[in-house]
């Protein structure tokens, strides 16, 4: 390109570069807000958060661009940004356009309802919209503060980032990347391009600090930190719930009633309703901590074996219970209104409207029979205390498994014992009850009962032997898809290391699934190949006890709460030391210097200039500094230089100008402050003269 066209192109390039340079700070502010908003990604999922926050940030940018081109629009910044942001949200967040009131719910109660949900939460507008609204407000405040201060304009974004960390604290690589993204956005705001030579130093220092901070965060185990907001149960959770364990006998009396149907590709053995783990001698109960069911439930980290997903479509027919048929490792529920879930047991509860049909997906552990046979149990998972166990039950427990170590094999031995020594009651005269009286009668005298007594007795005996067991009520899955009252069942589950809760069947009435796959099949195979009890006893006696990782009690955890507390206390102490200590040290220093006369005044003046950001080298004399300083400060420094020359170099022993010198210092101080409070505070709190 030659001639005028080339210069026109060059001119346009320069114009474009200047335009980009002018816009870099606002782009940095908005980018920091987007990064801060995207830190909510673990709560809602990346897509659910990123698009709405990006949309409001783009709207905010266009408003700022319009103001840049037409400064008269500045007074309309707030209404323009808010209106544009809300329109963008309606376009981006599904469901908002149809129900605008969901935006209001999202703003007012979304933050709380999100805490009541499992994470990642459902991307309902009632929940997720509070994040882009926060980002929109942060963008608005940041853009306004940018006109005042480049440092303060980042405060809204930092506040949103801090708020997000109260929900879920990022650790490891996520924290590192988020920190770098925030630092990069901040760099666009704080650096002055080009020509800011110290900017690179500040940038490198900031990146290093963020990296170190993020690395420290990465060392913290990814568990729930103390700083996280508590996750309450929804306020509308029913306080009293029917215990299906009490209904087993009644349902068995009308066995043909169809309760629900199931459509699934793979065979399912059982449909749990609720897991009961607390027994007071008379009643089995549970205190579920319900949460709103989010998009997906995470797999219990204690399950270390591979899992495979299974899906079934459940249609409720004659269903009166609040509980819904589910699975122990429920992953998600689709095609249903909002549900409640107890993450510990996987129990589902209808929130307001009970669904007639839903699709449930769960994880089925794919464990090898050999692995399951050799597996131990997780004794720390439950409080095994059962109160005052009747002597008959206690003696029976010792008789069954006294020579065995708690293991999955022991659980099967106990199961086999009940299967062979006890009968399942049929007919109309069905025993009821599951307290110690009924269990003692069942185990010692009648030896006949329903699955209610079998399961309750199993759990009591198992816990007496040190096995972590709980009682589950639900339905067995018969051949075919229809589940009736006759299929109601109570069964025990044992917590097995690396596998989680494994269902057992002490009644022996469940369908054999040895030909299938998954956990039930593996358990059945182990059951069939179980050696005689005496052989197992011999093996357990010959083998040394498996070393426990933490033999001295509950599992030790990294005391990160203490670390965080100490770190927080350290930060507060450092802040206090800075706010109080720095002015105090300077006051003491000034008092001592006053006794040194003119020489002290010179040292004080140097430190004043240094605290004000001036470069004061060891080679600089008072007159050098006077030449560099402007106006009244320069005049004061010239006066001080004259005093200093007479005091130090004239050969006189006296110091006649000491008051005059300190007067010059006061003048210099006034000249540096220029009557502005911010300068006074900055000079008072600056540590340059203390550490330099």
């Amino acid at each position: 390109m030659h001639g005028p066209g080339r210069y026109r192109c060059l001119e346009l390039s320069v114009h474009w570069c200047r335009g980009v340079k002018r816009r870099l700070p606002i782009i940095g502010v908005l980018a920091a807000c987007v990064v801060a908003g995207s830190l909510f990604a673990p709560v809602f999922g990346t897509t659910a958060v990123l698009w709405p926050t990006l949309a409001v940030a783009v709207v905010a940018y266009f408003v700022e661009e319009a103001i840049l081109r037409r400064p008269g629009l500045a007074r309309w910044r707030v209404p323009l940004t808010l209106a544009g942001g809300l329109v963008a949200l309606a376009a981006v967040v599904p469901g908002v356009a149809g129900r605008p009131v969901s935006l209001w719910h999202g703003v007012t109660t979304g933050w709380r309802r999100t805490l009541e949900s499992t994470w990642p939460a459902r991307p309902d507008p009632e929940l997720v919209t509070f994040v882009p609204i926060l980002v929109l407000i942060a963008c608005l405040l940041g853009a306004r503060l940018l006109q005042v201060s480049r440092a303060w304009c980042l405060v809204p974004a930092v506040a949103v980032a801090g708020f997000s960390q109260a929900y879920v604290t990022l650790t490891g690589l996520d924290a590192l990347l988020a920190g770098l993204a925030l630092a990069g956005s901040s760099a666009l705001v704080l650096l002055r391009w080009p020509g800011d030579r110290t900017a690179w130093v500040r940038l490198v220092a900031a990146l290093a600090a963020v990296t170190v901070g993020a690395t420290v965060l990465g060392l913290v185990p990814p568990t729930r930190p103390a700083a996280q907001l508590p996750k309450p149960s929804p306020a509308d959770t029913p306080s009293v719930l029917r215990n299906p364990l009490n209904e087993i006998a009644a349902r068995l009396r009308s066995p043909d009633t169809v309760v629900f149907t199931v459509r699934t590709d793979d065979p399912v053995e059982r449909w749990p309703l609720i897991a009961l783990d607390t027994f007071d001698g008379a009643t089995w109960s549970v205190e579920p901590r319900f949460q709103r069911l989010g998009r997906e439930l995470p797999l219990d980290p204690r399950v270390t074996v591979p899992v495979s997903a299974q899906t079934a479509e459940v249609s409720l027919v004659d269903w009166s219970l609040p509980w819904l048929p589910s699975q122990a490792r429920t992953r998600s529920v689709a095609n249903a209104p909002a549900l409640l879930v107890d993450p510990a047991s996987g129990a589902l509860l209808a929130d307001q409207a009970r669904p007639s049909q839903y699709t449930v997906t769960w994880d089925d552990p794919a464990v090898e029979p050999e692995q399951l046979s050799a597996a131990g149990v997780e004794p720390d998972l439950l409080d095994l205390n059962l109160g005052q166990v009747p002597d008959g039950i206690d003696q029976l427990a010792g008789q069954i498994g006294g020579g065995l170590r708690p293991s999955f094999q022991m659980a099967l031995v106990l199961e086999e014992y009940l299967r062979t020594h006890y009968k399942v009651a049929t007919g109309d005269d069905l025993p009821t009850g599951h307290g110690y009286a009924q269990l003692n009668h069942f185990l010692v005298r009648s030896k006949r009962g329903t699955s209610e007594q079998f399961a309750a007795a199993y759990v009591v005996l198992a816990r007496q032997l040190g096995l972590p067991a709980r009682l589950v009520v639900g339905f067995r899955q018969p051949q075919g898809s229809v589940v009736r009252n006759a299929d109601i069942l109570a069964w025990p589950e044992v917590a097995v290391e690396g596998v989680g809760w494994v269902p057992l069947d002490p009644t022996g009435t469940a369908e054999s699934t040895a030909g299938g796959r998954g956990l039930a099949s593996a358990a059945e195979k182990v059951r069939r190949s179980l050696p005689p009890t005496t052989e197992i006893e011999r093996e357990h006696q010959s083998e040394p006890a498996a070393p426990s990782a933490q033999p001295d009690g509950p599992r030790r955890q990294w005391p990160w709460q203490v670390v965080l507390l100490v770190a927080g206390g350290g930060v507060v102490a450092a802040l206090l030391a800075w706010l109080v200590g720095v002015p105090a040290v300077k006051a003491i220093r000034r008092r001592r210097r006053r006794r040194q006369g003119t020489v002290g005044a010179w040292a004080e003046a140097r430190d004043l200039l240094r605290d004000n950001g001036m470069q004061v080298t060891a080679a600089a004399t008072a007159r050098d500094l006077a030449r560099v300083a402007d106006g009244p400060v320069g005049q004061a420094m010239t006066l001080l230089a004259g005093c200093l020359d007479r005091a130090l170099w004239s050969g006189q022993d006296s110091d006649p100008d000491r008051e005059f010198a300190w007067s010059a210092v006061r003048k210099a101080r006034r000249g540096l402050i220029q009557g502005r409070l911010s300068r006074r505070i900055r000079m008072t709190l600056s540590t340059r003269s203390l550490v330099g």
Binding site: R592, W602, A619, T621, A641, D645, W649, G651
Partner: protein, 330 residues
């Protein structure tokens, strides 16, 4: 012309006012030239032609009276033309010494680098010892005695670079520099008035000048300031761009010049700022840079600038044993 008892500041103001009638807009150059005179040193003025080097030297000579001479250095100038020669006087029937141009109070060595090294060497003894030895007979030059040499730094053809030994004998090397617009207009107007340096009147006599020189030598120099001057000279020897740094004569010259500067300001003591202000004219011409520095277009002035920025000035607080105290102050 006897002006009675003048202190150095008054003498300076008289001479400076007189010279500035013909040298406009260069108060600092005039001040350095007069300070050299008061310090009893010799002055090397180095700059382009037409900037007033010779006028400054002539104005200085005219202001103090006494004998002044001008030696125009040319390649065919002989040492004897400077120092003088011994010739046989038939009338007296003996050899008689005929003094050369050097026998004056102010000697203007114009275009000194056009003289051959042999001729330039004739100045070595007289500049250092204020005496001339011809045919084993020593002849003192009059006091006060000052050599004001000029040289053009850009014309290399037909010139001979001054040897380091001779450069070291100049107390200061100064550059006149171009005048600013207003000053140049005044110089042009002055040309029309016909005022030349030779028209300047004498403002102090030699006796007064001797007293001033004696007063300048009595100006008080604190040991810390003296140490600072020595540190500056020593720092030039350690600089990476310097092959040969300033000699102890440079340290002495720095303190002498600082005394003169302080005296011209009416002070009886020297401050570190005095030393800093004359470090460049006193030290720069004494440095021999490395070939790498020369290739990198580094100059001696750059080196002095580095040294001034890196050498701690006396009187500044230094941190010592966690207590603030004054370093290098007695």
């Amino acid at each position: 012309m006897k002006r009675g008892d003048l202190d150095p500041q008054q003498a300076y103001e008289l001479i400076a006012g007189n010279i500035e009638r013909v040298i406009r807009g260069k108060p600092l150059v005039v001040r350095l030239a007069i300070a050299t005179l008061f310090a009893g040193g010799h002055l090397l003025i180095e700059d382009l032609p037409g900037l007033g080097k010779t006028s400054l030297a002539r104005g200085l000579a005219r202001s103090i009276g006494g004998r002044s001479s001008r030696i125009q250095f040319t390649p065919d100038l002989l040492p004897g033309d400077i120092t003088g020669v011994v010739v046989y006087d038939q009338g007296q029937g003996k050899f008689v010494f005929h003094p050369g141009g050097i026998f004056a109070n102010v000697v203007l060595a114009d275009e000194v680098n056009r003289g051959t090294p042999k001729t330039q060497s004739a100045l070595l003894e007289v500049m250092a010892e204020r005496q001339v030895t011809v045919d084993a007979e020593t002849h003192p030059v009059p006091t006060p005695f000052m050599v004001v040499a000029t040289q053009n730094p850009i014309e290399m053809e037909g010139t001979y670079r001054l040897p380091e030994a001779q450069l070291d004998r100049f107390l200061m090397r100064i550059e006149v520099g171009y005048p600013d617009h207003e000053s140049e207009v005044e110089v042009v107007a002055l040309d029309g008035s016909g005022l030349t340096p030779d028209d300047l009147e004498q403002v102090i006599d030699l006796e007064t000048l001797r007293e001033v020189v004696t007063a300048v030598r009595s100006v008080y120099v604190n040991e810390a300031v003296m140490g600072y001057a020595v540190k500056l000279a020593a720092a030039t020897r350690l600089h990476s761009s310097v092959r040969y740094g300033a000699s102890p004569r440079g340290s002495i010259a720095l303190v002498r010049a600082a005394r003169a500067i302080a005296a011209t300001e009416g002070r009886q003591f020297v401050t570190p700022d005095d030393v800093k202000s004359i470090a460049r004219p006193v030290l720069a011409h004494r440095l021999v840079l490395t070939s790498d520095a020369a290739l990198a277009r580094r100059t001696a002035d750059d080196v002095i600038g580095d040294v001034l920025e890196e050498t701690p000035a006396p009187g500044n607080p230094v941190r010592r044993d966690r207590q603030w105290s004054l370093g290098a102050v007695t």
